[in-house]
Assembly symmetry: C2
């Protein structure tokens, strides 16, 4: 029954695989406005900012701000979309793919949507605080207080991103452009999120951004999958819709569902999920969450792409060879379900 | 005599201060092509990538790659410009100013130039390596091997950026938008450059980028001021011109000047330089370098803005209230001196 409903909802989209990847060369793009800014941020005083003689050890820095780059198209026809990357990555996730194809940032723009791309706090162009490292280095703090910061190695990330079960084995039908994997690894950065409070300070920053925009779809991925839900729990103001792509977690179905009933929600998963012990329970718990929201009178759907005949998608499906085809599915869902509250 | 020559070279530009800041609202912008990619990068194997159970400690990561975002205008008329930020900052330097005005990235584009904005290696969207921190944390390396990473505090940065001699005193006639200083501080990030070899791996990456573009002006700032010169010393291929803004250092005038003779060079300084012991010797040594290059038959100029009647510019002159006026001076210099070698 659920499959039949899904098939009805997305029926026009289950076309042959070949048609998923062919795209004509795009023409020029006309931008009404673009730029960048920060949201949030707090001042921190420290006496271990530096160990270099040219830069004072003592002083004030600003951290927890979130970098945002935006572009709005001439002739806007769609609701603004905010793109929120996942673990060990930055806003680069949504830009040009490792094999040089158009990213979702530009594609959504060309379909009439203003696009906001963020770097999570303490990642990319959003500052980290080095003062604990320097405090340990100068003997002012013990070694065990060093910050938790990690990088995901290619080999370990391989299964997390579902390129294959074991590095360098490749799943049959894999759509991620692994010939360009060296370019993908360059996108990965060290991750400090484990140091940060819950919710991650990116969440209140997203809330402030959504209210500043005056209505946006929050589109998150993996580690940040939960962030739009946490944002809605702070306030649904400005949250016109939620698209959570392969979230590491969905909200607890037994929690207060009030905020989630007020917002149209789509949770999207790629292929091979059931083969991976890391991923199968996540899909399952997102289904339970969506069912609970729907039962409570809200609108929450889970779409696993194989259910509508789309096979071979990795965890990094915004970079897979059929990425624009998947973008079209999301745009259709937005067009049908999201009302811009501008 | 030098002043007379400068006045002749930039004569049309010494207009009243009021005209420096008024700009009409820009219309739509048509982009022929945009996107992002990385240049360079090397693989590092480590057994201390992580201290978290969910992410393997052992594996391979990629570091030393340089993030590049580019936009090319429809109807390109100018040589490509590559924007290289300075210490403790990222490519954000060249984007929307702290008080919300257009950045040089978009302004140059609107004047017909393809624009490339980079994040230096180990900064912003260009990955750092956390493995030494985790090696110390797990007792595999001693504390004194912790990486050198620092942040510039607001108070110390105040005099470095020449907002005033002492925080929070402001120099008379200051053009930096200090009412928006809180937004500026959010641009600053921790800096790992002191860990890296000389030349910084950003330099060979700039060389590869310049050759890939097939001719670009390398426009650097402060810490990166020397990078275009170091790039030219590797190879002048692709280096169509150098604009070094307030460099921390110019090349030694007694070094081999061959590479610098082959490229048109402009070194730009703002106001108040002679009042600051950090800055005055830098301007002086850049003058000696430019004189040596010119004497050897090259084309190298130093322009200190007060010499042509432009007063009040800080070290962050690409964000000062007359930033677009200064951009026009640079574009005029490019138009006169740089031939695209495409």
């Amino acid at each position: 029954m659920r499959l039949a409903l899904l098939a009805a909802a997305f029926c026009a989209l289950a076309v042959p695989a070949l048609a998923q990847t062919s795209r004509p060369e795009p023409g020029p793009l006309t931008i009404a406005k673009q730029g960048s800014f920060f949201i949030g941020g707090r001042e921190v005083k420290s006496d271990t900012l530096s160990t270099l003689p040219n830069f004072d050890a003592a002083g004030t820095i600003t951290v927890d701000q979130m970098y945002v780059r935006y572009q709005a198209p001439a002739g806007q026809t769609g609701v603004p979309i905010t793109l929120i990357h996942g673990c060990c990555l930055t806003g680069k996730t949504w830009e040009t793919t490792p094999d040089g194809r158009m990213g979702w940032d530009e594609y959504f723009l060309r379909q009439g949507h203003p696009v906001y791309v963020i770097d999570q706090v303490w990642r990319g162009r959003s500052a980290t605080d080095p003062s604990t490292i320097n405090a340990v280095r100068t003997g002012k703090k013990p070694v065990d207080q060093l910050p938790t910061v990690f990088s995901a190695g290619h080999e370990g990330a391989w299964a997390i991103f579902r390129f294959g079960h074991q590095y360098p084995q490749v799943l049959p039908g894999m759509r991620f452009p692994l010939a360009a994997q060296a370019e993908f690894w360059k996108q990965m950065v060290a991750d400090s999120a484990a140091n940060l409070p819950t919710p991650n300070p990116t969440v209140p920053a997203l809330s402030e951004l959504a209210q500043k925009i005056g209505g946006t779809v929050l589109m998150s991925h993996s580690q940040s999958g939960i962030y739009p839900f946490q944002t809605a729990a702070l306030s649904t103001q400005g949250v016109a819709g939620i698209i959570s792509i392969e979230p590491a977690a969905c909200p607890d179905p037994t929690a207060d569902l009030g905020p989630y009933k007020a917002v149209p929600i789509l949770v999207l998963f790629g292929d091979y999920v059931d083969e991976f012990p890391r991923w199968a329970p996540r899909l399952k718990s997102c289904r339970a969450f969506a069912a609970a929201v729907s039962a409570a009178g809200g609108k929450a759907e889970v779409l696993a792409l194989p259910e509508i005949g789309i096979k071979g998608n990795s965890h990094m499906l915004m970079q897979d060879d059929n990425s624009l085809y998947i973008a079209d599915i999301l745009l259709r869902w937005i067009g049908k379900n999201v009302t811009a509250t501008r």
